[in-house]
Structures are given as C-alpha cells and as structure tokens.
Symmetry: C2
C-alpha cells in the first residue's frame, strides 16, 4: 500500500448501485411476485422509472421546497404515482408498504460481502448512503452486509451530494476527512467527497442500469483508487 | 412469548454496565499497563473515580452549561484531572489519547455476544448509549459485538435520560416507540424509556461496580421483562 493511503482509518460506501444491485433485485422480486398475478407490466421499465424519480425527489429536499423527508417516504410518493400509471390498483395499504420496502431487500453484488469482510479486518467500514438508517439497517440484515456502522444522509438532514452529508459522517466517525475513503460507483459522489478532502475509490458497476445502458467507467486523475470490485479494493489496500 | 411482546421489532441496549464490564476492563488494562511502571495507584479507585465524573460531566450538557460535547471529550476532561490527582505525569499526548480510548476497549459480559446473536435472528439490535458513535463502533469491533446499527445520544445531541435521545432512536429505526424494547441494567434508563411508551427489560449486572457495592436489582411492576442475562432474555423472547 503506498504511503498516500497509510492514514486511512475508515471507508464509507455509497450503497445503491455500489454495494447492491438495486435494478436486478427489484426486477427479480417484481417478476416473482407477478407470477401468480400476470399483470401486463414491463418490470425493467418499472424499475428504471422508479429509480428515475430518485434524483428529482431528493432535489425537492435539497432545494428546500419540502422539509427533510426520509428516502422511504420519497420512494413511496414515487411508487404511488407508478402504481397508478401502470394500473396496479388492487393492493391494500400493507401490501403497498411491503412493495415500497423492496428497497430494503436489495441483493449485494457477488463480490461485495467477501470484499467487505476483508476490508473490515483493517478499516472501519460504514455506509454513507441517501437511504435512511432503517432502510440501510434492514438491508444489511437482509443481505448479510457486515457494516461496522450505519451512516446515512438522514443523520445530517442533507442528501448527498450536499457537503453536510459527508461532513457529518466524518464528525460521527471522529476522524479527519482525509482519514476516510469514499467508495462509490458514481463519479459525482466521489467528486463531492474529494472536494471536501476525503480520499476516493471508484468501483464502476457496469451493469447497474442493465446490460444495454453504457455507463462512464473511465478513470480520472483526481480519483485515488480505481478498483474493479471490492475484492480488488481489499487487495489494493493490502487487506488480504 | 406473551402477546404483549408480539409487536416488538427492535431492542435498544444501554452499553456501559449493561453490555460491557467497564470497571473490570479498565482495571485490568490499567494494571497490565502498570506492570512495567510500578505506579503507586489504586486502579480500582481510579476506575471508580473516572466513572463518578460521568454523570456530573453530562449534566453540564443536559443543563445547557456547555454545548453538546462528545463523551470522548468529557472522558478526556475527567482523565486529565485524574492524571494530575494521581500524579501520573510522564505521558505524552498520544499516550493520553490512547489511555482515554480505554472506553473503546471494554469487554462484554460473558453472556453478551451469545445472547445478542440469538436476539439478532429475530429483532433489530442496536446500541442506545451515551457513548459517541465512534466509541461504540470501535468497541463493537474490539469486542465483536454484532450490532445491526449503532445508535447514540450523539445523534440527538441530548444525553440519556433526556427524552430526545430515545425519541430520536425510534425515529431513526422508523418504528413506533412501543415497538422497541430498551434493555438496561439501570432502572432510571428504563424508567425514561417507559415514560415514552417503550417496552423495557431489566438485566441487573450485580458486579458492575465490583463485588462489594450492592446494587438495586429488585424487579418493578412497570418493567416488562426481568432477565438474568442476555441469554435468558433471548429465551424469554423465544429466540432459541
């Protein structure tokens, strides 16, 4: 491990797309659930549309148009619109709540747990996600994700990429920001962390949006580590 | 399990004294560290005096005399006074910081991990301690405590038994307070939780303050479960 990384004490992870395959998990669960219902729904399109509401719904909070709102509640607003659009009308309240909590039941990418277990031996590993604390806690139980600590945008009342989310995480870890490495599959997340003095690791997830949508996985000179997956990251940080 | 407990989704745990043996751990580490130094210090007394500053130092925050201050920093203020009193004068800054972090290296009571692993199968298990997030995270790594989620008074900016600490924990777990059981070895902690509608479990730890100091371990009719240890609690909540 080069000297540059000797001071790193903790790794904070973006979760949706970086640790878990939100799209594949949602499509699989919806298709399985639909086996006995035979709804005429394109579930790939449904998952993509639900996720496409993610950014705009958080912008309402970021811009101060609505007060702090948990991601679970933003997901619910988007879901209710989608259920109407796709004419899925026969669900009761508790079924809709269970549907919305599909975001608590996302499955990790195949390398994630093995990589995290290696990294955990040497570093504190924490989430730093826009998902709310209970969502991330339930997801960790669901997917056996071995976090040392659940950190969330919710703890600062500011969604990433607002600086407050990263600043609060460092405060709670009692670390300087340059002692923390942000790990994400998304450059804007890493760029925000980099601007605040955090170290950064880019782990492209080429199939986050399915096999047909091309994503930007090119390295950047301001990114500290480029890793092909979490096992590669553990190896680059000498956690083997 | 009686119906009364059917709605419980999460257990929140007091930590110092309830999960870990702070006194025994501090005395052991200090004595071991002192083996090559031969300081004339009564480490039992030292540990008790350090802990006796805990309540008064948090009161400064509770009463608004000082702004929110992490427990690590309150511990440090008390430690500096004690080092002077006991004439332990030859420590450099990083040795004093390591000394202060003895509170991150406390050992669990013998039943704690086994009990928590059983309880974790059925419930979300979280800390709800006055220890700061990083202290609790480091302690979990040190003692292999299998928390699903690290919750702390720090997240509300209010020390227990201020109601805000319990209210914030329930909000972050996205649960009603009566879906949460507070587990503690201290009745005042349980009483505060009970007043806010949480369920309560009393686990007396007769040796928290050593073998000579008698503690109040009598049951109370407002306490929901009286458990001899965490394994007994898991059994009473049908987690076997």
């Amino acid at each position: 491990m080069v000297n540059h990384f000797r001071d790193i004490k903790a790794l904070t992870f973006d979760v949706f797309g970086t640790v878990v395959d939100w799209r594949g998990s949602i499509i699989n669960e919806c298709k399985s659930w639909d086996k006995t219902r035979h709804l005429q729904v394109n579930w790939e399109e449904f998952a993509d549309e639900w996720r496409s509401e993610y950014g705009p719904s958080m912008n309402l909070v970021r811009n101060g148009e609505i007060p702090w709102t948990k991601l679970d509640d933003l997901h619910m607003s988007s879901l209710l619109k989608l259920l109407q659009k796709y004419e899925i009308t026969n669900l009761n309240k508790s079924e809709i709540e269970h549907f919305n909590k599909i975001w608590h039941r996302l499955n990790p990418w195949p390398d994630a747990i093995t990589g995290l277990l290696k990294l955990k031996k040497k570093f504190t590993i924490a989430t730093l996600s826009n998902g709310n604390v209970s969502l991330l806690t339930n997801m960790a139980k669901w997917g056996k994700l071995p976090w040392d600590c659940i950190l969330s945008a919710e703890l600062s009342g500011h969604y990433k990429r607002d600086p407050e989310a990263y600043i609060k995480a460092a405060e709670l870890l009692s670390l300087e920001r340059n002692e923390i490495m942000m790990v994400a599959a998304h450059k804007d997340d890493l760029s925000a962390a980099n601007n605040l003095g955090m170290k950064t690791c880019f782990v492209p997830r080429p199939f986050e949006h399915g096999i047909s949508r091309k994503i930007d996985s090119s390295p950047e000179d301001w990114i500290d580590i480029f890793a092909s997956d979490f096992i590669d990251l553990a190896s680059q940080l000498c956690c083997d």
